[in-house]
Amino acid sequence: MDNSKEAQYIDLYRNVREVQSSVFEAYRKASFERFKRLGFPDDKSEQYKYTNLTEALSVDYGLDNHNQKELIYEAFTCAIPGIRSHLYFVVNDTFYASDEAKNQVFPQGVVIGSLKEASRLYSDLVAKYFGKLSEKEEDGLIAFNGMFAHDGFFMYVPENVTIDRPIQLVNISEGNTNQLLNSHNLIILERGAKVQLLVCDHTEGNARFFVNRLTEVHVAEEATYEHYKIENTSSDTTHISSLLIDQKESSKTLTTILTLNNGLTRNNISLMLNGEYAEGLLYGMAVGDLDQKVDNHTSILHNKPNCHSTELFKYILGGESQGGFTGRIYVAEDAQKTEAYQNSKNILLSTTARMRTKPQLEIYADDVRCSHGATIGQLDETAMFYLRSRGISEDEARLLLMYAFAADVIENIRIEALKDRIKLMLEHRLRSGVSQAASCILCR
């Protein structure tokens, strides 16, 4: 490994390490050891070959100093009309709850708050789950997150409890100095629990951000979990997000990953179907018009029989933007009666945009239904002409077709207010051309 980049952070770790709860400490130490072994992924790494971090890592970053003078989140208003969410924040590295959420009385046993705090108040519970998925990942960035993350979002939903309104976590990267930001979220759903989480990523300020966030989700038997992630950051942001979901028997998850505005983005999504009859739906969309880079690296593990997964990712790339998609589907030897469907569809609007898509199926069982498809193309010329022949201008026709292309990802959003807003944001995004999704007050 190229020691120079890693060495400074190894020193930094030694210098700034804070004493947390014992749960954090053990994990931090183990992560440190793993990072020393793995280092940052480089251009020779098969897993990261569509995400080149060399430039982003050459920037000199500081760690968050945790003393924002103004609490930026207090000014935050979510611009999704009618979302009625319970709102939480991670500003840079640190967790905050909105006043509304602080005063909220949830059903008996529900815990939503800071992971740092939870690791002290509910140390046994947190210890049982914390780091259990991430410690198995052979990924230097996940190890790196473990070295520095000291807080994040924590949610525990007890058996058979349904949280009616969506929970919303807004990650804000804020400041005018270059920063390296890490946070660790832990989400636990007990048997039969039900919750929707909306995660929004924003940036504010004129600095370079290297954001490295990790989310571990445990979904117990018959529980239902929906995860919506919307990135609306800036061209100066390097955004790494790892989402690890463990599913037990008859659980259901829906994950939607939307990249509307960004710099360099890498989403690692791992769906582990570890109980029979589990269902995992995974949808994604990315829009690039300048020189954005979006790489969704997905892995769906069918470890038990009778599970179902559906995966659909759509990219609309123009300018010199670049997209990457890896869709690994693993079906274990005894995971009979698996159903796994995957589709990657991509439109290139310019000759300089690039898309690299790679289905990767590893099937060891013999009684399965699996399919995969990948297309990279342009807008349908016959459809263009049909629309124009009815009086619709070329620009408007193009917009309608791009919009239609993305529709089946958006239609799978189950929070109506969010679905409507995403439609608007996408339309605005496609119309204005320049990188403005313009819908949140913080990221005008």
Binding site: F385, S389, A407
Partner: protein, 249 residues
Amino acid sequence: MLEIKNLHADVNGREILKGLNLQVNAGEIHAIMGPNGAGKSTLASVLAGNPAFEVTEGEITFLGKDFMELAPEERAAEGFFLSFQYPVEIPGVSMVNFLRTAMNEQRKYRGQEPIPASDFLRLMKEKKELVEMQSNLTNRSVNEGFSGGEKKRSEIFQMAMLEPRLAVLDETDSGLDIDALRIVANGVNKLASPERAIIVITHYQRLLDYIVPDFVHVLFDGRIVKSGNKDLALRLESEGYDWIKKELE
């Protein structure tokens, strides 16, 4: 209204139209017949401004404007409409959104305000009845999963909504059973008016039992070689095109 002079057009470098002349006035219904490969659909595509076809010579004037100078969407906004032989399916674009966009884009071109939503919905309801179009079809994506008959009915429905000055119906009868044919033809007849002209492109005389033309033209090898009244269509039906070929030789 429409004047075509000495029209030559290529597709993929092959000349299909070889000096076609045609004049259509307001209020007239013209039928264009001819054997396969004569250039009937090419004529329709060229009129609509399909970029896959290249006009190499001649002129097309529509309502006093040089049609060749106009983009497909401008031609539509000037009052031209093509009912496609093979309407395109567009998944993800709803019929309602499609038509409202089309209508408002045309209005914008003509310097008009967008149509109010309530007026639009009322108009849709009225026009759907005109072509006996099932209500749920307009809630679906454009032509997606429509049967052959439904697609053709959808074309006439669009024509009714957009109210063109000149409509070209390109083999609207193909793929229709006799009931659907009657419904589509009735819709077209209701849309006929002294201000509007219609060109019907067809292989078969059958459609002309329902839509009675004022003029029938035979398109052969890229030119209109014979014109007459509706009796010409009847003769073509019974005798085929051989006698025309002989006349030409």
